[in-house]
Assembly symmetry: C2
């Protein structure tokens, strides 16, 4: 048993342990619809009327009683009396009588009485007479009120991400503003005596990767307003001070680094010293990502992640973000694909594994090429397409198995 980790948990236990221990003060704001993309809707939106709101023509043509043109053909044209020529946006006030016709452009209003339209291509106009060369069925070339969207239909759910497609729906009902959730302030601290921000590197030093990667992922998730707190040396007092500052300015704080024995202890102790209840999870049955710490202080979530760039990225993206999204009720979309595994992937029973794979498409089939990541701290980011998950009690996956890849 590894004595470094005190409260090791399965990933599936995280929600149970943490969800009712922390809270996120997520506010709402009204934003102009052209800025709404990449925000999450703060409420349900329903269709306030039916679309189309009038019987709408699908063609440029003549509105008719279909019975009037029954049997019409080029050799047996049916003459109708043209009583109006509508432009787009105009409507005919009366009811169309038998023997009458009205010109309606595509998208125009079909007059009451008419049950179909004859396309202009199948007619000939002579003065105020229109000769129809073809019969039409009732309902042909028009759509009824509400045939597209019925009044009351939910067009956007609370917690859904607003995409251009959702903008189309909202605009269908004339919205110029949308109520969206505020971005959640999240503070990001990098720790480690080995870390340098820029400039030349002395032996043993590395650049701070995690701070910027987690910042970018937080931003890119559309959930957060991330703030960088820079690099903090492996000294408990300095880390405590940075954590206190970040906690005072954010709802959530992420610390990364400190996987080595000493500094990892600092992460745990500064969270515990910051307040109650302190550290609740100390270690995960997950690889990579075992040295992850979850704590709560004054209802604020604090997460300590490994210094390994791949591990901290994966745990943040696939564990921390889903936890926070669940808490707030955000529907985070993930694209998955099924693929055939093209190599064996051994795994140790008793720990879940995230394996980064490269997705390869070969003649209408996807293959998943595992990128073994023991030494691939950042090179996985060059070619990786996403991850597969090996369950806790599995001894691995066999070449040829069908696996589900969560794309990143």
């Amino acid at each position: 048993m590894d004595k470094k980790y005190l409260k090791v948990k399965k990933r599936s236990d995280i929600e149970k342990i943490l969800l009712d221990k922390f809270s996120v003060n997520v506010g709402k704001e009204t934003c102009p619809i052209q800025d709404a993309v990449n925000h999450f809707s703060a409420r349900d939106y329903k269709a306030t009327f039916s679309i189309p709101s009038f019987r709408k023509s699908l063609v440029d043509g003549f509105a008719v009683h279909s019975k009037d043109v029954l049997g019409a053909s080029p050799s047996n044209p049916v003459p109708l009396h043209l009583i109006s020529t509508l432009k787009i946006g105009e409507s005919y006030k009366d009811k169309l009588k038998r023997g009458e016709t009205v010109y309606v452009p595509t998208g125009g209003v079909v007059p009451d009485g008419a049950d179909s339209l004859v396309m202009i291509e199948h007619t000939q106009v002579q003065g105020d007479e229109v000769f129809v060369f073809r019969s039409v069925s009732p309902h042909e070339n028009l759509i009824e009120v509400g045939e597209d969207v019925k009044k009351g239909t939910v067009i956007l759910k609370k917690g859904e991400l607003i995409t251009p497609q959702k903008v189309a729906l909202l605009r269908g009902f004339g919205l110029t503003e949308v109520e969206v959730f505020n971005k959640i302030p999240i503070g990001i601290i990098s720790t480690g005596d080995e870390l340098v921000n820029s400039g030349s590197l002395k032996t043993g030093k590395i650049y701070d990767i995690n701070g910027y990667t987690l910042f970018s992922e937080a931003f890119s998730s559309s959930i957060f307003l991330p703030k960088l707190y820079g690099i903090v040396k492996d000294r408990e007092d300095k880390l405590q001070k940075a954590l206190t500052k970040a906690l005072s300015e954010n709802d959530i704080v992420i610390m990364s680094g400190g996987t080595s024995k000493g500094s990892f202890d600092f992460t745990v102790s500064v969270i515990n010293k910051a307040g109650k209840p302190g550290v609740l999870i100390h270690g995960l049955h997950l690889s990579p990502g075992k040295p992850s710490v979850f704590g709560v202080v004054n209802q604020k979530l604090i997460v300590g992640l490994s210094g390994n760039p791949l591990a901290s990225f994966l745990v943040f993206k696939y564990v921390v973000i889903p936890l926070i999204a669940k808490k707030i009720g955000l529907k985070v979309k993930k694209h998955t694909v099924f693929a055939t595994l093209n190599a064996n992937v051994p795994s140790r029973k008793g720990r879940e594994e995230f394996i980064v794979v490269k997705l390869v498409k070969r003649s209408n089939e996807f293959f998943a090429e595992p990128i073994f990541s023991e030494s691939a701290f950042i090179s996985v980011f060059i070619e990786g397409s996403g991850i597969i998950t090996i369950p806790l009690m599995s001894e691995g996956l066999i070449k040829g198995e069908k696996v589900e890849i969560t794309l990143w």
Copy 2:
């Protein structure tokens, strides 16, 4: 033959006709790395050194000559002389001699001479002696210089979208700024007498959907800086004025609306009057999207799209954006999945079709449920997941066929 369309082309001909006729003045800018996500890289980035740049420990443990600990076991511990205890970021100046050991934390520098590490869990320290209880193989628990990324490896290509993963790679080499392409100014004009921006709707009127949808899609693609030019009535002089203004302020102009006969003619004629060479494609063998117009004026691309929200969205996203991306050399990522079609989809030979489908996951398999869109102008945006494409000369797809869905 439909006389409305004069230069109807296949989608596959668009590039051939247009690519060398228009140009896009895409500039470059340097942006701080924390703002780089959602920009496209303006140049190749290569690894400027190897990572790791020093032999790096993967564990908290003792660096050893593996030969020294051959056969070590709990009953036969091997004593080594502890000559230094490194902290993270520190290195041992000399070469490790036989019989010696140095403590190295995870991520620390492995001293020259040592070829492996023994995890701290398999040792016991007594004063300056370390008893080793387990043998290790050469190379165990460390990674060599360049084992992650070799100097010279391309870590980000010109035209690639910068994601959090790419930020990790760039930060690995200490970059604090990235050279990215400027966003391309694109002007969006909505046309049609039936269009209203907000307020109550009279019969025959609809809200302007396309302006905002195309604006959002342009923004969301990360390629453009979109600007809305509002709603222009179906009058040639007004449309000409709007086009002139939009052309003077943007590299690309998109007009949507005017699918009805009269106003469609306006789109064509204002492009032709704006300058040379004018309209180059007038109609596509594509459904939806037949009434699409592509023109070039003073090397600037002008596109006229259907007023149908689904048609204009699909043609913009899957035809116009890829054309511009190709011109500039941007690698636009698209997620695709294979699925089993769960309904027949008839199609007319001689036109390509985009069919919106809903993706349904059932026990390790995806199914594609076509959403027939004749009357679904915007309701497809509620449940649609993406599109399948029916080739020009196909008569349709059969239930049970495997299809590739381009997710949106």
